[in-house]
Symmetry: C2
Subunit: 136 residues, 2 copies
């Protein structure tokens, strides 16, 4: 845990109690939380934390490349602290997001007309489905 804080201190990321709560919540978190999820989870132990601080902090972490913004749910942004290349599957009923660890790097072959118009920097493969809990 101290490892985590040391890492951010070293990078010049100012550590306030609110930020520490956010970082601890995100560390190893695979639930792909929204800003509201983070806010709710943190509020329990840190009642004074504000929504602005959560938004400001995730924005800051996103800019520093410490977390990823996931654009798979049209209703709101989700965040993912797992920087290892992986993909996502979203339940079309409850919007829960799961991880998919598989290599789809082969899909980088693009038609010439696209390569002419765009300098391609990356790709995402997203999956859609229905999760076990929603199958009933």
């Amino acid at each position: 845990m101290e490892e985590l804080l040391k890492k951010y201190r070293k990078k010049g990321f100012k550590l306030t109690p609110q930020r520490i709560a956010i970082l601890k919540y995100l560390e190893g978190n695979t639930s792909h939380p929204t800003a509201e999820n983070i806010y709710m989870a943190i509020k329990e132990k840190n009642p004074t934390v504000s929504f602005s601080t959560v938004y400001n902090t995730v924005e800051s972490l996103k800019e520093r490349g410490e977390i990823l913004e996931i654009t798979i749910d049209p209703e709101r942004k989700h965040y993912d602290p797992n920087l290892n290349p992986h993909n996502h599957i979203v339940c079309t009923v409850c919007n829960r997001i799961g991880d998919v660890f598989a290599d789809y790097s082969g899909v980088m072959n693009l038609p010439p007309d696209v390569l002419e118009e765009f300098t391609v920097t990356g790709s995402h493969v997203d999956f859609y489905g229905v999760c076990g809990e929603c199958r009933d």
Copy 2:
């Protein structure tokens, strides 16, 4: 053009002047417009159209499977009248969305743990890049 209206009439989709304007604007449109784009484009010739009507109509068209909602831009929803299987590439500078016509159906191979937890219904491959105009 009359083909277009006939098609919707046949499906029991009530055709008002506002809806006709929206359908004509979307027909063959490859610009992946947002609700605002549609509203702005239509307002010129149809000054009384309201934002609600645009939202209601695209929602209705989406439910009927006549257009697709694109979730590639975290800031807003885009719509695509092209129902043929294809993918998208988004410019990370100006958010412009381009079409990618290529077959990536091979990516449907998912790890067993995911297949156990989800009934997979589909996949999307999205690309990120910088478009010609933003390269300067």
